[in-house]
């Protein structure tokens, strides 16, 4: 009896220990992280200092010090690319010294801004996720940039139109695009050839995508032809725009994503998913879908432009990049990410200093440099022809092709000061219900849109 109890306890104790020891038991290829954006970027050497305080910069006599909050983890290639640019700026003798404070991810960054706004100690400028900017503008926290942006040496008209729409609120300019990315479609040329498809003609519409995926499935029933972490507002909004729909009515007072266009947009995905042509994953699976594509489990993956670095390094087959297929209006790539803002309560000379910094950062050469190092889109059309970008195009032609496509097919996202409260809160669970096959598209979207419209009133 006693030894029996001992064995029982031993087994349970082992079970408990297995739970503790799991990190070593899990395979190294498993995607560990849920953060959507920078996870797939190549890992770089960690650096220690979260804030940039260059000591070697030659200081001009009257240097204005400004603090800029920047949502990035304290290690990794993005942070290094930003640090390098800030250091260069501080050394450029513009009479401005920037202290960059890293604030984690976009969510943490915004929570800190809310706390700072309440306590009246906001920084001078910040990078903010673009959906959060209207909330700040609506409560008069931001400096309108309309006059400053007219300065001749800023060359406002050169900013990529695809990235600019989310900078406005109530017809005023509040933000300058900076750290932006979009969903693209990566595909396996070898699998296309094997299935008798032309690898130079990736599907541009969902009709073409359906035909192509049917051929791919017929060729190899073990492959799910297409995948993507698309069960969320970001990917759905692009899909909706490509069907000539929109999340919100023009006046922003009611939700229109349950329009016939909206139902058609989501039904295409659901039907392809039912027919095993498309595997739809949640937004937590950004990393997993890339690994599956690299492992040859899928022929096409809809994934952030960011992931091309990982694919470039690891794919053992001939791959290529294209726009995500679209509906009746053709492909639409909507760029998410962060924009620069200047806070309204900051002293005028500091606002001016922050503007000097933004102007310098978004020059064709500097946005090209950040784009090459980080994988984000360049914010100026002319940056695509900057010498550094042209050189880079020789090394990595597919990256530059992807950037060109992103700016060509780019459209802005909806603008609302209550985006999360009125749209995402109701739309995302409805999309997940529909795409997992547990709800009817029309019923679920109608119910969600009604709640959205109530919240918008």
């Amino acid at each position: 009896m006693r030894s029996f109890k001992f064995v029982v306890l031993l087994l349970i104790a082992l079970g408990v220990l297995v739970g503790c020891a799991a990190p070593t038991a899990a395979p190294t290829s498993a995607p560990p992280t849920k953060a959507p954006a920078p996870t797939t970027a190549p890992v770089a050497q960690p650096t220690t200092a979260p804030a940039v305080k260059p000591t070697d910069a030659p200081k001009p006599a009257a240097s204005t010090k400004i603090t800029v909050w920047y949502p990035l983890p304290t290690t990794g290639p993005l942070q290094e690319a930003m640090n390098a640019l800030v250091k260069k700026f501080n050394a450029a003798g513009k009479g401005v010294e920037v202290e960059m404070v890293l604030t984690g991810n976009y969510g943490d960054n915004f929570t800190k801004i809310l706390a700072a706004a309440t306590a009246n100690n906001l920084p001078d400028a910040a990078m903010v996720e673009l959906l959060q900017i209207p909330q700040l503008a609506n409560s008069n926290q931001l400096l309108a940039l309309d006059d400053l942006s007219k300065e001749a040496d800023f060359n406002f008209s050169d900013l990529a139109p695809a990235l600019l729409g989310n900078s406005y609120f109530n017809n005023k300019l509040y933000a300058i695009p900076w750290q932006r990315s979009t969903t693209m479609m990566f595909y396996n040329r070898d699998m296309f050839k094997a299935a008798g498809l032309d690898p130079d003609k990736p599907p541009l519409t969902w009709d073409e995508a359906k035909a192509a995926t049917q051929k791919l499935l017929a060729k190899d029933p073990n492959v799910v032809p297409m995948t993507g972490a698309i069960a969320s507002d970001w990917a759905f909004e692009a899909q909706l725009l490509s069907f000539n729909g929109a999340l919100l009515a023009k006046d922003g007072k009611s939700a229109t994503y349950n329009s016939p266009e909206g139902i058609a947009a989501v039904t295409v995905w659901r039907d392809m998913s039912k027919d095993k042509l498309l595997s739809i994953r949640g937004s937590g699976d950004f990393g997993a879908v890339v690994n599956d594509f690299i492992a040859g489990k899928n022929a096409m993956v809809m994934q952030s432009i960011f992931s091309r670095a990982t694919i470039e390094q690891q794919a053992k087959f001939d791959w290529d990049v294209a726009a995500v297929p679209g509906g009746s209006a053709g492909p639409v790539l909507n760029a998410g990410g962060g924009n620069f803002v200047i806070f309204g309560k900051t002293a005028p000379e500091k606002q001016k200093a922050a503007w000097t910094f933004m102007k310098w950062m978004t020059s064709p050469e500097n946005t090209a440099e950040y784009s090459i190092k980080s994988g984000y889109l360049p914010v100026r059309t002319s940056a695509l022809n900057a010498p550094a970008m042209v050189d880079y195009g020789k090394q990595s032609p597919k990256t530059v092709k992807a950037m060109n496509l992103a700016l060509k097919y780019g459209k802005s996202r909806a603008v609302s000061s209550v985006f999360e409260k009125a749209i995402n809160q109701f739309l995302n669970p409805a999309l997940q219900d529909i795409l997992l096959g547990t709800a009817d598209p029309k019923t679920a979207l109608d119910a969600a849109a009604k709640k959205s419209t109530d919240a918008l009133q």
């Binding site: 306890l9 104790a13 739970g19 849920k34 809310l114 994953r281 997940q432 547990t438």
Partner: protein, 298 residues
Amino acid sequence: MKSTFTFNKLREPLTAYAFLFPSLIGLVVFILYPLVTSFYLSFQRWDMLSDARFIGLRNYQKLFDDTDLHKILGNTAVYTISVVLITLVLALLLALLLNQQLRGRIIFRTTFFLPVVMSLTAVSAVWLWIYDPEFGLANWLLKLAGLPTSKWMNSPQSALTAIIVMMIWQTLGYNIIIFLAGLTNIRRDLYEAASLDGAGTWATVWNITMPLLSPTLVFLIITSTIQAFRVFDPIFVMSGGLGGPANSTATVVFYLYRQAFYNLDAGYASAIAFLVVAIAMAFTALQLYLSRRWVTYE
């Protein structure tokens, strides 16, 4: 002379307050002030950026109209009842085993207690790996046993169960330790008397151990229930801050957080906070009332 007299009279309470002062600061700054502010905010509309506006009982009225909240209260109830019930039964059985003279008893006790001292955030991140549908340990074990695999965190049908299993694993050790402490307090002579009277193992457990352990059980039921009802960390970490597929793992405190920091509706979030307080208080009162009928205090 008179002043010295009053000073002496005041001396004792003053000394007491001086000693209490450090913890009083903490209490006032981190508990009392936020509590009062939150109550005040529950009657306001405030987005944390503009000025707050008084809207009477509208936030409380919304508690009744918000169908998402009702679904989420359901999730929370399922989570709380499952975690508390299963953990208590398992912990009691294991504590009874561990209370006997067994080889390696200390090692077992330490092993079961290990998950308790680990950071819940880190544990959640690790369990996400275990639950990975492709490479995870959980599905590997299921396959090994010839059982159907699960999508775990990726499906609305299994996501909440996955978190429940993890939390049972995590809280088991704490419950065992408290039960063991309760068991140690039971007088040995009662067992001796029972064995002299010829009572078997089962009769002893049922007639001596259980009644004398009942105060411990009540303590654990109340504290575990309140704790489970307030669950946040694993929900936030394991759903990537989203509440799981189709809100399937959203619980009431997570919903509160989302109302405040995603939706910028601090007033409604405060009203939800007071709903949580009301439910927890009602439950505790009920427990204490019912426990009078079945708890034996020695």
